[in-house]
Symmetry: C2
């Protein structure tokens, strides 16, 4: 039996396997510290498409195609698809994934969507509802700037606390152990548990400092996770947030210290890992649904597969704002979703 833990946490009795993954990124990500870990680095930011939204759709399509191809699978082998992105009405996913013709659960959790999609994907496999499902998320620097900030042509100046939206898509294929064996696929890692986050609003209103807006949600999630799993920071090789950046990461570590947990030795942030902030001019770090997705897919899963690390808590964080809510003077509430991933 899968085990229901405290507030929103689940521990799976038969942990779903991650049997394949792929990461597709843009030029800037391909020049950063993780460049050797990504599957595809695009040389053209439009990925051969006419506009930025279509380019982001192309990223998703490429990521899922490659993920399937790596293990010789087709769309028909995938029972459900859990997908989302940052754009209004999540059009990057709708137009990027429609050709696969897989029953779809469309998700929106801002930059936490990679965690949300992996959680629901794992929950459905562990429930016996599917032998194989896929999770796909993306973001694109230019479509996000157009959606949330200023047109690129405007050349707006950015405060140092601002993050840089990652151009990238990560796709993951999850399957039961039996299915992996039947297909003769060597699994990469397994998802042993999840902690689902609630909205946390500390009243931050600065959309150029989303790390600060999301840190309280990450703190709440990680604290809850420790309670539910009766675990401590030492139980994990890394506790990995999605895109808090340098500013938000510092706040998170401080907030958790106040609650009695010191994660400083194990905490890493995908937004900090993916760019060389000094050299690349990316401010506080990378952000976007794609940031945590490609960093998990390319970098952390590789380490788990090679058994260089044993167990991580992956915590993508999302800022639940829109330009409309921002312009109407609303706060920036945050959310985070936690996924425990272990080596096989």
């Amino acid at each position: 039996m899968n085990q229901k833990l405290g507030s929103g946490s689940l521990c799976f009795s038969k942990a779903p396997f991650i049997i394949s993954t792929a990461s597709v990124v843009g030029k800037k990500e391909g020049e950063g510290p993780l460049k050797n870990y990504f599957d595809v680095i695009g040389s053209d930011e439009k990925f051969g498409e006419e506009n930025w939204e279509a380019a982001e759709s192309a990223l998703q399509k490429a990521a899922l195609s490659l993920t399937l191809g790596k293990v010789n699978r087709k769309s028909e082998d995938v029972r459900y698809l859990f997908a989302g992105d940052l754009l209004g009405q999540t059009i990057a996913s709708s137009f990027g994934l429609k050709e696969f013709e897989i029953p779809l659960f469309g998700l929106y959790g801002a930059c936490s969507t990679c965690g949300e999609s992996l959680s629901l994907a794992a929950m459905n496999v562990a429930a016996g509802y599917a032998d194989c499902v896929a999770a796909v998320t993306s973001s694109h620097f230019a479509s996000a700037e157009k959606q949330f900030r200023f047109p690129l042509e405007y050349a707006n100046q950015r405060p140092k606390s601002a993050t840089w939206t990652v151009t990238g898509s990560g796709a993951f294929l999850l399957a039961t152990e039996e299915q992996a064996k039947e297909w003769n696929v060597k699994p990469i890692a397994k998802i042993t548990g999840v902690t689902t986050g609630k909205i946390v609003d500390f009243g931050v209103k600065d959309s150029m400092n989303m790390g600060a807006a999301m840190a309280p949600a990450a703190c709440d999630l990680i604290y809850q996770h420790f309670q539910d799993f009766t675990s401590t920071p030492e139980d994990y090789d890394h506790i990995i947030t999605g895109d808090l950046g340098t500013v938000g990461s510092e706040i998170l570590v401080g907030l958790l210290k106040e609650k009695g947990y010191d994660i400083s030795a194990v905490h890493e942030d995908c937004g900090v890992k993916i760019y060389d902030g000094e050299k690349q001019g990316t401010g506080a770090g990378g952000s976007g649904c794609g940031c945590s997705a490609v960093t998990l897919s390319g970098y952390y899963l590789k380490q788990l597969k090679e058994k260089r690390i044993h167990k991580i808590l992956f915590v993508p964080t999302g800022a639940l704002l829109s330009t409309v809510s921002f312009n109407e003077g609303q706060t920036v509430p945050g959310i985070a979703h936690g996924v425990v991933i272990e080596r096989i």
Copy 2:
């Protein structure tokens, strides 16, 4: 054991109960044919708020509060919340539901979101992941016009095929049979199965005729459902689409006839039911996430509770477009999610 059927369908061995529901609507919906079925009819379209988006959030907050209150429950009794709306970055849900502090899965399925949220809610209860979960969706005429069409002040003329976005929110509380008994709650109905839809794109590009864009997705879903459950139209008192309106409904019935199924005797559409199109000037009918949510909550669930009907297939439909995708000349892909609801 829950039973996996064909493409994306599930049949629950222990069907989750709908133990409470509430509908909150605007003035126009409160003047329509279903006026006696809704719980709350607002006299002020802004629901006491400063802007349309906050008004839509207020709808969600009121619907969920009332749903909990009807069965003397609190937020803490609800393990997961499945919610979404039509606005960019689903801000109606984020700001409407944050105070409840319930672990949240944010969803986007356009106007199919009520079906998507009920599906995932039922799947999670049936999997044993939760004893009680909630599903909430909404739409608001004015926030949707602002988001998708023209500012109200512009007084744009509308073709007859255009639909009228419903101002309303429907909330549902699902629980296991044991939990309902423990709480001494008389259940309303039960969800016995789901069929999850995939994106279907027939190339329709007219955003003022979304019924035509969504009808193929509804056809695909219903056809697949009949195959998976080896059922026929006669097995249901009603097969209820979300917001195809008069134009889309006719197309759906025709498309399914071509595939060998005549649903004309049992088909109803929430968008057609909710307004008196002639008198209320609502074009082809109501639309929006709120349309199917409040019609199911207020009208159909009441009939199931009173055992006047036995079994329905509820099929909300969504048009996966945004103003950006429309302006870039993209098509309007559709999606539908099917939920089988039976009397206790």
